[in-house]
Symmetry: C2
Subunit: 218 residues, 2 copies
Amino acid sequence: MTHRRDTSGESTHERILRVAAEIFARKGYHATGVAELGEAAGLQRGALYYHIRSKEDLLYDLSKRHVEEALERGRAVVAQDIPATEKLRALAREHLRIMAARCDEVTVVIREMHALSGKRATQLTALRDEYENLFAEVLREGVREGVFASADRVVVLGVLGMFNWTHVWLDTERGPLSPEDIADRLTDLVIHGQLRPTRHVAHPTAAPAAEPVPAAIP
Amino acid sequence: MTHRRDTSGESTHERILRVAAEIFARKGYHATGVAELGEAAGLQRGALYYHIRSKEDLLYDLSKRHVEEALERGRAVVAQDIPATEKLRALAREHLRIMAARCDEVTVVIREMHALSGKRATQLTALRDEYENLFAEVLREGVREGVFASADRVVVLGVLGMFNWTHVWLDTERGPLSPEDIADRLTDLVIHGQLRPTRHVAHPTAAPAAEPVPAAIP
């Protein structure tokens, strides 16, 4: 397969991926026809099939490219010689930058990844797990440094969920905030929690009995 | 429309919603045919259309029923006369209980809600906003009580995102933990943050200059 580039430097294959991400994000993967993809990319059916083998291939290719880029940028953060609190902040900033810049791809990966099957599903799941593991690694580093309270699985998935869920609201709710502003606020929430610094409500790991258990919910 | 119930007490309409949620969650809304839904519910095409007007109706009905139930339970929590920290915990527990009990509906609402159009989309968005607002209200109460540092929009969406994202991993990752255990751990994370209680890293709202700004990322 050749990768000719147009004047913007984008190859036909890249153009197809970009257009597919836009349409899949807007209409949904299953509701999008191959003919529609070809038309949006300015390609006849034959020409489109010269570049992709199937619609599922397209979903896989664009998802893979996106997760690999996120992974590469995340790995560069984790490799830095800085404290875990700063790594978490830098990882969050990269995450939010990607969310903002590649909104369509993020939406498609998160919403449509389940449509992949067989080897493609396995490979993409492995890449995603590797990305998630960057957050786990930084939290574990924080525990080793004696700074973070926990890196258990629920905490890792909670933190990751907070950052991943931004794809739902980033476009409509960020107002004048930059991706970095949002990353910083969420990182502060993860690191410091919601308690005002002057308040002394007992921390559960310090004195679990001091905080009353809520009454049963009717 | 009549609502006859079978021996389990489930009406035909409820059975259709349950079956649709299961298939939509597994295959995706757009990839599911009406014939398949009828077959799974044990109904001929004519009988199915006696109960529903369209596939989109079905998506709307099951989403609405789910969000309304969550709302009702959430409102009962917020109406209680307990401190904001306890309300947040109780709200999180209800949220996780629903996530665990209605996994299919949650997946469908989160993943397929964008497939709704017109008035249905508007109405479901309003219900969802009302549910989100319960979390905002509890955080604002905490700020009024002088306990929570912030109830700004990013914090509200961050907290909500952490809880909503559990639908992705609750089934596969919870291990021996109950929904309430997970709710409690995530609530502790939101309230207390990740810092070990013995550490004194400056809180950003207390002394923003004390925490070094991370170096620019290469």
